[in-house]
Amino acid sequence: MSLQTLRVLESFLANVSEELAGADVQRRGGLASGTLYPILLRLESAGWLISRWERVDPAAVGRPRRRLYRLTATGLSRAGEVFASFGFSRGAQA
């Protein structure tokens, strides 16, 4: 698992119930878009993350809908294992 993937997971583990958009993860993890989005899709494909569209009217808010990602139960468990294997405590605020 790459350092960048760990950073993404760390962003979600800060608050496991929180839904994060790509921009939020980028701010927390400090990753470039070229790295971030393949990781998000990879984790989603693996079942670690789940995503949905933000429930807003783009015309009303004046911007496109954001895609919100959330850690799944599998993702939470596996991410915890990964961080534990590196000797880090998860530090989740669930």
Partner: protein, 247 residues
């Protein structure tokens, strides 16, 4: 309306039109970037990236974000699962794949048509030859660079400048009667010449011997003188006044 107000209004209008133009251009670039992503994901990625772009501030950061999207699309395409089209829901969400055990989860897709349905016209630019050319140029550069930068360091000897002190010259005349003259001094014979040569050979700076045999001098004597000079390690021996032998 004052002049300042008019100027301010014009600047606001220019700024608004500029931001509109930038937003349109960014949208086009993102759509362009998403074109290389798997088709079911394109719309999702464009909307997601556009939403993200609204939260990116600064021209440089925007450009970096846009370039990153091209890279992201390329990576996503590379990692496209085998059943990408079937595993994507209508909302663009990735359903959990049902890959049989023992089979790789991801595979690289190749651009070859396997069925008549796949043999549709490709409207995208085929970048494979461009990448091939780029790689060839890159390899050529890598191979040629060490040759260009290679250098052999040599410590070359430094030449003695011609402005050095001229060496001492000894005029050695050999006459036809067999007499040998050392700088105007008549020598008794070859043994005396040898002693003179030995003294000169051990000097700090050897003198130059200018040999001037007379035209009718015996070759045998001249050869002996030369042999003596060589035997006594005289390094600079030269025939001078050789014009008299011309005729």
């Amino acid at each position: 309306m004052s002049g300042n107000t008019i100027l301010s209004t014009r600047e606001d209008t220019a700024s608004t039109s500029s931001s509109v133009w930038t937003a349109r251009a960014s949208s086009r670039i993102l759509k362009w970037a998403a074109q290389s992503a798997p088709e079911p994901l394109r719309e999702r990625l464009v909307e997601e990236w556009l939403a993200h772009l609204t939260e990116v501030h600064g021209e440089v950061a925007r450009i970096r974000f846009l370039l990153g999207c091209f890279w992201a699309a390329a990576i996503i395409t590379y990692e496209n699962p085998v059943a990408a089209s079937s595993s994507l829901t209508s909302s663009g969400a990735l359903a959990k794949e049902r890959v049989p055990a023992g089979r790789p989860r991801y595979s690289v897709t190749f651009a070859c048509a396997t069925s008549p349905a796949d043999r549709s016209v490709m409207s995208e630019i085929n970048t494979t030859p461009l990448i091939d050319v780029m790689l060839v140029l890159l390899v050529t550069l890598i191979v040629s660079l060490p040759t260009l930068t290679h250098a052999v360091k040599l410590d070359l000897p430094r030449g003695v400048s011609s402005s050095a002190v001229p060496p001492t010259v000894i005029d050695l005349d050999i006459d036809s009667d067999g007499s040998i003259v050392w700088n105007g001094t008549m020598l008794a014979g070859l043994p005396q010449l040898e002693s003179y040569l030995q003294a000169e050979a051990h000097a700090d700076s050897q003198a130059e011997i200018h040999l001037r045999p007379e035209r009718r001098a015996k070759y045998d004597l001249v050869a002996k003188v030369l042999a003596l000079a060589q035997r006594n390690h005289m390094e600079n021996v030269a025939f001078v006044n050789t014009t008299e032998f011309a005729n």
